[in-house]
Amino acid sequence: MKNKYSPGDKVQIMQRNQPGHVRTPIYVRGKTGVIERIVGSFPNPELLAYGNSGLPYKMLYRVNFKQSELWPDYDGQADDTLEIEIYEHWMAPA
């Protein structure tokens, strides 16, 4: 399976409302981060959780966000970050 994004690429997490076993928390939706690493391809948890095979597999990445991007009033240090796993179908080039 080919990866659409590479480490260092800027991506924006999609802002969509989707019920079910979604692994993209609301607090990162619509936010812009940087691909930290390619984790690999995994069964799609949005299908797997309901007794399906999870096929086709989805590419998973770790995305690094500045805390100030996630929380405009973040009161820690300017270089504090958060890293989280995001599936390819939840992101777009930024």
């Binding site: 984790v39 690999g40 998973l60 240090q77 504090d80």
Partner: protein, 217 residues
Amino acid sequence: MSNDHDHGPTHTHDGKLIQEDELPSIEAQILETSVRELLIEKGVVSGEDIRRAIEAMDSRGESLGAKIVVRAWTDPKYKDRLLNNSDDAVREFGINMSPMELCVVENTDEVHNMVVCTLCSCYPRPILGIPPAWYKRRDYRARAVREPRAVLQEFGTDLPDGKQVRVHDSNADLRYLVLPKRPEGTEDWTVEQLEALVTRDSMIGVSDVRLPSEADA
């Protein structure tokens, strides 16, 4: 009365919403009991098999994690494997992470890592066993990503100025282990002495590994 109203547990004076933890789902409990009884009735597993599996799960704990951490502290080649090829590195200790994958993050002079699962309670169980109750609570899960420095302070972890905090939300297919910093002054310590220092909380990243004298302070 100093405040203008009585308030329940739903909000605090600074207006922040605190959601109560959910009660265990009765439907899930009934389903678990039904499936378990069926499996036993049909001879697929025995009650003793289930009991033994629970006992094995419960017996895993931070001592296994401490062995891995100390090996990484004392063997640079192992540390390299642990950080870059984590699944294989822990397999040397008989640990199988499958179908999850392990991600080991290293605390340094520049960066402090901490782990949370905001969506549920994902935790490196094959290494650290059962997660602590606070790790599963909604307040930890919400606040660790929103105000990690305040949470660290409540855990007694004061970071020096300039140190970056990096939070890892364990939300999907990876499980996280923090490789804490080896305390200064332990250069001559034996492996056993070092292993006794490494705590569960230091491998979740809400604490550092401290010398006994510091821990008492």
